[in-house]
Symmetry: C2
Subunit: 344 residues, 2 copies
């Protein structure tokens, strides 16, 4: 199913997707949404998801599910969508010019959880699949945004993701972890959104693994920044995305269980609301999914479901040194080798 050319780009042709690729992936995305929602309701123990079905005029639709005012989650949103149209929006066309004049198909499941307790981190998961003319690719990732972080929780989170990666390729974690650090970066704040995780895009089995600057630009560059790897098939990548989705449960749920009864007061709550402001800033200013959604005339309420239910901004706030609030930014919001962290 794969083929190589002999010119200077050694890996020019991607593996072909199976005939029922769209059906397979969208079924997987729906199942993932179902599984996640069932587990979260069990963990929350108080609130249930409400489902909102929607259709998109230009083609496709989705089902958005929201849980609010729960025992654990102040708000949780889990979206499934499957959309198609005549042309990819500008934000993607610029990365994949070869898709111009082709219709596109995109499906994905994404989730953002905003817990009540500031000792439980916010988490984001996304799995997505695109087809457009001659190309197809998978993207996705999981990342954690704590307010009052515990190094052991962060290390557990990263190790669990690394295990999921390692099952599929020894280089995945080493590439997708720094890509995440770079993607979830607020340039105007000079800090990461959280403690990262993994992030990947444009995984077509060829142009995926590169070293050097882990930018979007790099992803569209060619051989000199690519690791010369044997090509991976559509099926390989689909299986990997599946593992990413499943990794959410062991990576996150134990952290929730461990911290859900940690007591907190107004100080922690106010800091959580303040830090949620960074989440809003990232999603509205930088996030590719948000821009894609707004540019494709997506469903605004579903796109902005990632925004926290209550948020605070405070001019020139800066925490005192030697406080947990200070340590968050000083230590945790910088790239760290969490998978190799060991308790002193």
């Amino acid at each position: 199913m794969t083929s190589l050319t002999t010119d200077s780009s050694p890996l020019k042709r991607a593996s072909l997707p199976p005939e029922d690729a769209q059906k397979k992936v969208s079924q997987f995305m729906k199942n993932l949404q179902d599984e996640i929602c069932a587990k979260l309701e069990e963990v929350d123990g108080q609130s249930k998801f409400r489902e909102y079905g929607w259709q998109r005029e230009e083609g496709g639709g989705g089902r958005s599910r929201v849980l609010r005012d729960g025992g654990v989650f102040e708000q949780g949103g889990v979206n499934f969508s499957e959309v198609w149209g005549q042309q990819l929006p500008p934000s993607i066309l610029i990365q994949r010019p070869e898709t111009e004049e082709h219709g596109f198909y995109a499906t994905g499941t994404s989730m953002v959880l905003h817990p009540c307790n500031p000792y439980i981190p916010t988490i984001h998961l996304n799995c997505r699949y695109f087809e457009a003319g001659p190309v197809w690719w998978f993207g996705g990732g999981i990342d954690l945004t704590p307010y009052y972080p515990f190094a052991e929780d962060v290390a557990h989170f990263h190790r669990t993701l690394k295990e999921a990666c390692d099952k599929h390729h020894p280089e995945y974690y080493a590439v997708f972890k720094p890509w995440c650090d770079e993607y979830f970066y607020l340039k105007h704040r000079q800090e990461m959104r959280g403690v990262g995780g993994i992030f990947f895009d444009y995984q077509d089995g060829l142009t995926s693994l590169y070293r050097g600057p882990y930018t979007d630009k790099a992803a569209s560059l060619h051989s000199n920044q690519l690791l010369p790897l044997e090509p991976r098939t559509w099926e390989d990548l689909f299986a990997f995305v599946n593992s990413c989705g499943q990794a959410f449960f062991p990576a996150y749920v134990p952290i929730v269980e461990k911290r859900r009864n940690t007591e907190y007061g107004n100080r922690e709550r106010q800091f959580q609301l303040y830090r949620r402001g960074r989440y809003v800033e990232f999603n509205l200013v930088y996030d590719r999914g948000t821009i894609f959604g707004l540019q494709t005339n997506g469903r605004t309420e579903s796109i902005l479901m990632s925004l926290p239910p209550l948020v605070r901004w405070e001019y020139c706030y800066s925490p005192e040194p030697n406080t947990p609030e200070f340590e968050l930014r000083d230590t945790f919001l910088k790239p760290q080798d969490w998978a190799n962290w060991h308790q002193c």
Copy 2:
């Protein structure tokens, strides 16, 4: 000081600024900041502004002033800035390509007030001046964002701005009012940010007055969309911007005085917090000043001082028909001829 060419663009050369233009304008901007802060402290009656001076590595700086937890204002920010550098940022270069390879100078004063009482509207004021190589221009505007609006207040606001415009040119209000309606528009929500006011940009005495689509694109288009007007001098425009700044006082302060004692409860407060979310969405997704600031490595805290102190998002919230919350969007957040509104 002005000259006309005889080719198909009749108004090709702008009036020259006086030699001390930068000094004059920056002095005006500082005075405006002083006057506004003095008046707002008087109106607030409880809190005072705190000043934060700052400098910009690439050149220039500013003084940010913030009032918090006041008797009237939950937060008010009034910024003065004066910056220069080697090249305008991409967001402006695309509109003014002739400035490429020229240094730039920019100064301005801007203000956003977030009142406590949901019956008092949020207000935004901005005055700005640019020089870059062969070109210079003024920009600015004032606009109002009510939560629980009163048509008579909105009409008063617009009439006051119209008077300020009319003193300088009979066409200003007719052009700058719809420009404001268009600029402060949230495409993804299909609604205006508020009830508008006036907005203008690229006022160099030549390319300013056009009819038709009031878009940024139109502002960079040429003669066929321009009103063939006699050119206005630098001094004419400076005087106009001065009047805009002064119009803030009679346009807004009487509304504050009239509504400051209106009683409200949790319902109004919650709706105010929800609507503030739209303010955040506009400023982070669309606002040119915010984008300019972040692109020029501006001072993040000053740029984001416009964001409200507390904000709420609620998935799929939609007010019941025949409520004031419904009427806000249904009637007020659409372009209306407020200057000609008459009480029934």
